[in-house]
């Protein structure tokens, strides 16, 4: 089994039940391949961390200093004023 295939199966294992043959070949590959063993462990860590991601990322991003560009701000205001006048 190639590493590219092994990583695909490791990832797919989170979406579907692997077949017996797939599991067996994967287990053997992971046993002999340090890189894929690390990948497997990292996949588990990412999965664990990402369940917490939504509020954490939002908090980090809301704390950022991103602001609407001045030109866009004017453009949106103009569009809204026009819409308000039309109604």
């Amino acid at each position: 089994m190639k590493c590219s295939h092994a990583t695909k199966l490791l990832s797919e294992a989170e979406e579907r039940q692997l077949t017996g043959r797939e599991r067996l070949r994967l287990r053997f590959h992971v046993f002999v391949c340090t890189a894929c063993r690390r990948f497997k462990k990292q996949l588990g860590l990412l999965r664990l961390l990402l369940t917490e991601a939504s509020p954490k990322i939002l908090a980090a991003v809301y704390a950022s200093d991103a602001t609407l560009s001045a030109s866009r701000r004017q453009e949106i205001k103009a569009l809204l004023r026009r819409a308000a006048e039309e109604s």
Binding site: K2, C3, S4, H5, T7, K8, S11, E12, E14, E15, R16, T34, A35, C36, R38, F39, K41, Q42, L43, L45, L46, R47, L48, L49, L50, T51, E52, A53, S54, K56, I57, L58, A59, A60, V61, Y62, A63, S64, A66, T67, L68, S69, R72, R73, E75, I76, K77, L79, L80, R81, A83, A84
Partner: protein
């Protein structure tokens, strides 16, 4: 003050004032979903226009800002749905996407073998800088991949629900998730774990 405006205040307000009150907040929300700033600003603009058109529907039960974010969230989902359909019709994703720097050699071996990560999950979760890096990595990968990963991992959406939301096949979802995980892993290794 802005967050506790009543229905009547909102409906009689000059909508241009909304832009100063809520524009930056909405932009930051959009940027937490996508890296492309022009696109984020486009979606914020559409959000305000939809909000104006539907202002009578704002019942005042939630904060006005929450109501605006709900509109924006729908706009983001619409965008990725359109984008995803375009991608899956223009590319055979089972072949993967052409990549500037492939992760595996043509013999299927890692080009750069994963390194060992020393990490305490509990500490990472509480580290704001780590999440800024995660957000950056998600922003750097193709947006339709990041979006599927968000749905699956952040919200624990079922694969079949993602299929129907994005109108793509389950193998398509698996391929996207796999690509997204590989890219996120590599990005975090470069930007955080090295």
């Amino acid at each position: 003050m802005a967050s506790t405006q009543t229905k009547e205040q909102i409906q009689s307000q000059d909508p241009a004032e909304w832009v100063d009150l809520y524009g930056d907040m909405l932009l930051r929300y959009a940027l937490s979903r996508m890296r492309d700033r022009d696109l984020a600003e486009d979606l914020v603009q559409e959000t305000f226009l939809v909000a104006w058109k539907n202002r009578k529907e704002f019942a005042g039960r939630s904060r006005f800002s929450t109501w605006l974010v709900a509109i924006l969230r729908n706009k983001v989902a619409d965008h990725f749905r359109r984008e995803g359909r375009r991608k899956s019709s223009s590319l055979d994703e089972s072949e993967g996407e052409p990549e500037s720097e492939p992760l595996f050699s043509k013999w299927g071996k890692w080009k750069r073998s994963p390194k060992s990560w020393s990490a305490s999950p509990a500490e990472l979760v509480e580290n704001r800088e780590f999440w800024v890096v995660v957000a950056g990595c998600l922003g750097d990968m193709p947006a339709h991949l990041a979006y599927v990963l968000r749905l699956r991992e952040f919200k624990s959406a079922k694969t079949k629900d993602i299929c129907s939301l994005l109108e793509i096949s389950s193998s398509n979802v698996s391929v996207r998730l796999h690509r997204a995980r590989l890219l996120l892993r590599r990005c975090l290794e470069e930007k955080w774990f090295s």
